[in-house]
Amino acid sequence: MKPTFSIGDAIAAPFSLLKKKPLSLLVWGFLTIAAAIGVYSQLIPMLAGLPVGPGEGTAALDHYVLDSGRMSLTVNALTPLVYLAILLGWTAAARATLSPGRGDAFAFLRIGMDELRVAVVYVAWFIGWYLIVLVTMLIGAALGFAVWSADQTAAIIIMVVYGLGVMVGATWLFLRLCLIAPVSLIVKDFAFARGWALSKGQVLKLLGLNLLMWLISIAMQLGLFLVVGAILVTGFFGLGLSWPQSVETPADLIPLARQMLVPGAIALIPLALYQGWAIALSAAPAINAARQLLDGGTASPSVLPEASAPAVTAPTAPDPVVTGVEAAEAGDPPSTRDVAPADPSDETTSTGDSSPVDPLSKS
């Protein structure tokens, strides 16, 4: 019987984290917000001097063009810090999802081989996916160009059909690839082939899951805007503030911004919680789905044995992928095994599932 997963269990995973580990979510949110503020605050000196107001468009643009080259160099160089914070939050959320009954002094945050593997998978995935989509689009453009000289109507029809085909294909590819990072984290090895094999026959369910995640994130964003807006508006009027008479550059708003520091700091709490939740939403459902599929059924982690009960290990031969990794890690850089307390979920990685061994792992 083909393994499957429960969308309900998968989509419940981030809500479960929100309910059981709100502090961890706050920490992940603060971490990413701090990184973003740290990096993008570099732009403040440039933005503060931008002339605003009627008739200043050209001057603002000139000013922006002049400064943006210099500033973007710094910001671009530091932007990976934001990605790093998101990566740490993602793996922490994944770890928390896999250990539903356990607390963690570091909010499940680690820096180790799990993070490296997930980063490598996502960068390779990003480059590969974009390259394939780009090349496919180029071929389509060439096809349209070739037909255009013969029949323009046919060329338009072909381009539209081809474009739709590319969209469907790109989405399909995205969904087939989306379990590679979760599976790599769970099995503690690169799982390109295993993640690919696991998503076979699950594309529609994964599409449903991703659509559901998207809808939920929109609803939550609207809620966040309402809450943050309410805090800021209440702060503004509660403090008896008024909008400055003349604003020629954003720098003229700095005195007002200073007075709004306290409401701003209060607004950071729901913002961080949302950010942490958004990270949990991007990680937990995929991790939960991958875990269910690896287990060969619909058992969700929330019903898996807790830390006190050793998790089930396959009585059959050990998983060659995991064995290979353990052998490799014997003389390897520190993995999360080295820095993290024993995670009961780790032991369930060898599930005896019949998915093929990653061809990259053994040859």
């Binding site: 490598v120 390779a124 160009f145 000289s149 290979g324 390897d332 053994k362 040859s363």
Partner: protein
Amino acid sequence: MTFSATDAAFEGFRIVRSNPMAVVFWAVAYILFFAVFFAAFGGSLASLMATTEGLEGTQPSQQDLAGLGQAYIGFLGVALPLGLILGAVLNAAVARAVLKPGDKRFGSLRLGGDELRVLAVSVTLAIVIGVAALVLFAVVAVAAGVAAQTSQGLAVIVGILLGLASVVALIWISIRLSLAVPLTVAEKRIAPFASFALTRGKTLPLLGMAVIAGVMYILVSMLGTIIALPVTMATGGGMAQLAEFDGQSTQQILQVAGPGLIAWGVVNAVFSALQLAVLQAPFSAAYRDLKGLARD
């Protein structure tokens, strides 16, 4: 013979952990290269950078471009042979660090027969792959040109499809030849094409290993950029400040910008050494595992 591509991909990190001094020695080699190059051409480099900066945002004349091209060719004339020698020494050191981990002296850096053989093999392979690229893309251009007689669109399709096929073919050749350096060091012979037999049936795992190593190389590079930025900003701007010293001698430049250049050189050397380990060591590990050699 068990070769795990994902295991081999991490060989660079394994070296860094088990033999951190090797990275220090490799970084020192980079620093020496930079120092020698700068001592010889610091002043000219500043003039070249100033000229390049001066041309930014302008419409350079043919004469400007010709002058700039000549200056670059002059630098390349010196930097290329020096770089090839440094590359051979460092690539041989990485291979030795993986294949003979017990011999850790000087970070496995040597200057002898192995290095000469690696140099010969590297140059041979660079020429072979360069010629292969030239031939393949010439075929693509001719085929696209012939197709253009019928239709411009057909020419674009032919160009894209054959271009892609050529890129795939070049990647395939590069992967099949990728174990040449460790093979040269291990077997002490110049056999640039012996790697072909060794990699038969292993192209996909080796490609996967190379992709993983390449991505880790990018990640290390990003980390290097993040760390280098505050260091260079705090010490004056690194190489970017050189253009300000147009017309001054190397000694005059060092008196003013010495700390910044040294900081830039050290940070870049350390990260270049790390990137070297991350990118090159996996191929030596693949050779070791495919040959069934002991890990010591």
